[in-house]
């Protein structure tokens, strides 16, 4: 195996968590200024620059970063924001994750949409105007696995231009099948890149296999999935180190799978049933710093902001680097056709109807984009 074919797990073993954590403290104003001027000269930033930009030393430069990030984002994506909506297929889960409302040990009512309920849900979502959809499943391979997807995905495919999915890590073959059925993008967040912290929070179930999850984007790259989403759950461990790892992971993937598009999102821990206190708290200011740093590091990256964040924060942050937003998310299966808050994964913060989210986007001088894909792209056989 040549160096370029090494897995990201091999790369990761070359990084030492505590050393990286220390390096953040060593970054100086000069490092930040160098990164800023490289960006201004249209030089591509390296991981070192990225590190400087998310370090405490960059905090006084936040406004400059925001200006540059806005410029780069408009240059690449224009004054537009993509809109999408999540559709929760099931809240069944056979894992125990300390931070999640769907966790097996939580005594909540479990539900998986049957095909009739799925139809109702699709109809309700279409009514809202959405054309890009994100399917979300818990992690229950037995009940909500390929068998289920073979029924559900084609139904969904018929109704939406772009179909993304947040699903438990699957095998290469299974991803190929999903792609052929019409899935355009798959999102898998590593949660944390610290093996130790990962083990502390994933107590039971297949999800505690760190390496299987870590290699997921590589399996997706191998089948030529059009878009792959990665990210860390902010708060499980030091957010700076985790986000640095995400950037390193991205760089690795882009080099190897150059035909894939990438997106990143930055979920911050939210209150949920059986709630967990974040170990590392990220302030709004730091979230903005992070968004700008990702943009400056990678001007092509799609950055997505979910309804976990408040309406006020979303409206103000949107020009600073964001390219897509969800709206009106219902995090319980069947939530659009028939709301049952007791089933939800986490409580959302921005509750506005998509009409109002779109209006807020317009008020900021941006165009809300509902459709930006042809359903035939990425399929292996086009008639």
């Amino acid at each position: 195996m040549t160096g370029s074919e090494a897995s990201f797990a091999q790369h990761l073993s070359g990084y030492h968590w505590d050393d990286i954590k220390l390096s953040f403290g060593a970054k100086t104003a000069a490092d930040v200024e160098r990164a800023l001027s490289r960006s201004a000269n249209q030089t591509r930033l390296d991981l070192n620059d990225f590190m400087a930009l998310i370090s405490p030393a960059a905090e006084p430069y936040l406004e400059q970063m925001a200006q540059r990030s806005l410029q780069l984002t408009q240059q690449r994506f224009g004054k537009t924001i993509q809109l999408y909506v999540p559709l929760y297929l099931s809240n069944l889960c056979s894992n125990i994750c300390t931070y999640c409302g769907f966790s097996m040990h939580n005594a909540i009512r479990r539900k998986t949409l049957d095909m009739v309920e799925l139809d109702a849900e699709i109809a309700a979502i279409k009514q809202l105007g959405f054309d890009h959809i994100l399917l979300v499943t818990g992690e229950s391979e037995r009940k909500v696995g390929m068998e289920y997807f073979r029924q559900a995905v084609p139904k969904i495919r018929e109704n939406f231009s772009h179909v993304s999915m947040e699903v438990q890590p699957l095998s290469t073959q299974e991803y190929q099948e999903l792609k052929d059925m019409g899935v355009d993008s798959i999102l898998v967040y590593q949660e944390t890149y610290s093996r130790q912290t990962y083990a502390e929070h994933h107590l039971k179930g297949k999800k505690n296999d760190f390496d299987w999850r870590l290699a997921t984007p590589e399996r997706l790259g191998q089948v030529g999935m059009n878009k792959v989403g990665i990210g860390a759950l902010i708060g499980l461990d030091d957010w700076r180190v985790d986000c640095f790892m995400v950037a390193a992971h991205l760089q690795y993937l882009e080099k190897r799978f150059w035909q894939t598009r990438y997106s990143i999102s930055f979920p911050r821990l939210r209150p949920c049933t059986g709630g967990l206190e974040p170990k590392s708290v990220m302030t709004d200011r730091q979230l903005v710093q992070l968004i700008c740093a990702y943009r400056m590091f990678n001007p092509e990256l799609e950055l997505s902001l979910s309804t976990r964040e408040s309406a006020a924060f979303r409206d103000h942050a949107l020009p600073l680097g964001i390219t897509s937003m969800s709206a009106y998310s219902r995090t319980q299966p069947g939530g659009y056709a028939e709301a049952e808050p007791a089933l939800e994964q986490f409580s959302i913060s921005d509750e506005r109807h998509p009409k109002y989210v779109a209006q807020a986007i317009v008020e900021r001088g941006y165009q809300p984009v509902w459709t930006d894909w042809q359903p035939a792209y990425g399929r292996s056989a086009i008639e």
Binding site: T80, E300, Q374
Partner: protein
């Protein structure tokens, strides 16, 4: 100053796009101010299930021709599919062929582009391929029946200007079809430069769409394109290539000659 692509005559040499604008009415105003008669629009942005096209209808009303593009397509197969879709949905057999399998720099794939161009020409399309500034490829595309070629000036959306200038010159010199410089034009001066080189037209989107004042910027581009073309037609004065050396290297010949005469 008019020029022709396939069976259409254009009096404006500035082509524009519909993407990246903050809102459809600003887009319409900017396009009208630019004087553009041909605008590209991405098929991936067209929701075929919806009829309320706030982007299309004002343009059609303004008499602007639509040039659907296949942006988003990664293979010849996908691009051909998108072109057929456009023909059906928008009622035009014109297509800007764009195939970029690389989502980062959006570099056009020469092999897939040639394949798709050949197929689309056979199906009766007027094909305007977006390509790297590759003179050989441009000739090959002309040979399979493309009605124009659209080489890039710099990476798309980069606003860096004519980084491929040397190759654009060769393409323009050799072409029997119109050459439209596409991508990379970030300032009116870049557009003027392309026109001075002899390009038949330029396509500008990002630089207008994301300007703080798109309508004013559109006008600036309109004038720059006109000025550039006028300069090209008038014939640019040659830049002096020979410095007048104070002691000419060949003066000795005069001396030798005068000696031998004596």
């Amino acid at each position: 100053m008019v020029f022709t692509i396939a069976d259409k005559t254009f009096s404006s040499r500035l082509f524009s796009g519909t993407g990246k604008f903050a809102d459809p009415s600003l887009m319409t105003d900017a396009i009208l101010a630019s004087g553009t008669e041909l605008v590209t629009m991405a098929m991936k942005r067209v929701d075929l299930n919806k009829s309320d096209d706030d982007i299309l209808s004002p343009l059609v009303k303004a008499g602007v021709h639509l040039l659907p593009n296949t942006s988003g397509a990664c293979t010849a197969e996908e691009a051909v599919f998108a072109a057929r879709l456009a023909r059906e949905a928008l009622g035009t057999h014109w297509v800007k062929l764009e195939i970029h399998p690389d989502p980062k720099y959006l570099m056009p794939d020469p092999i897939e582009t040639l394949k798709a161009a050949e197929q689309l020409v056979k199906e009766g399309f007027v094909v305007l391929p977006y390509v790297h500034a590759d003179p050989v490829l441009c000739k090959r595309l002309e040979l399979v029946g493309c009605q124009a070629v659209m080489p890039l000036g710099a990476p798309i959306g980069s606003n860096k200007g004519l980084k491929t200038r040397d190759f654009l010159e060769i393409i323009i010199e050799q072409a029997n079809v119109p050459v439209i410089v596409d991508a990379g034009i970030g300032a009116p001066s870049h557009a003027a430069e392309a026109m001075e080189l002899g390009a038949d037209a330029v396509l500008v989107n990002t630089a207008i769409a994301v300007s703080a004042q798109p309508v004013v910027m559109a006008k600036a581009f309109k004038q720059a394109v006109e000025a550039g073309r006028m300069a090209y037609e008038a014939g640019l004065a040659a830049t002096s290539v020979h410095a007048n050396a104070s002691s000419p290297l060949t003066a000795f010949l005069d001396e030798i000659e005068s000696v031998s005469v004596d």
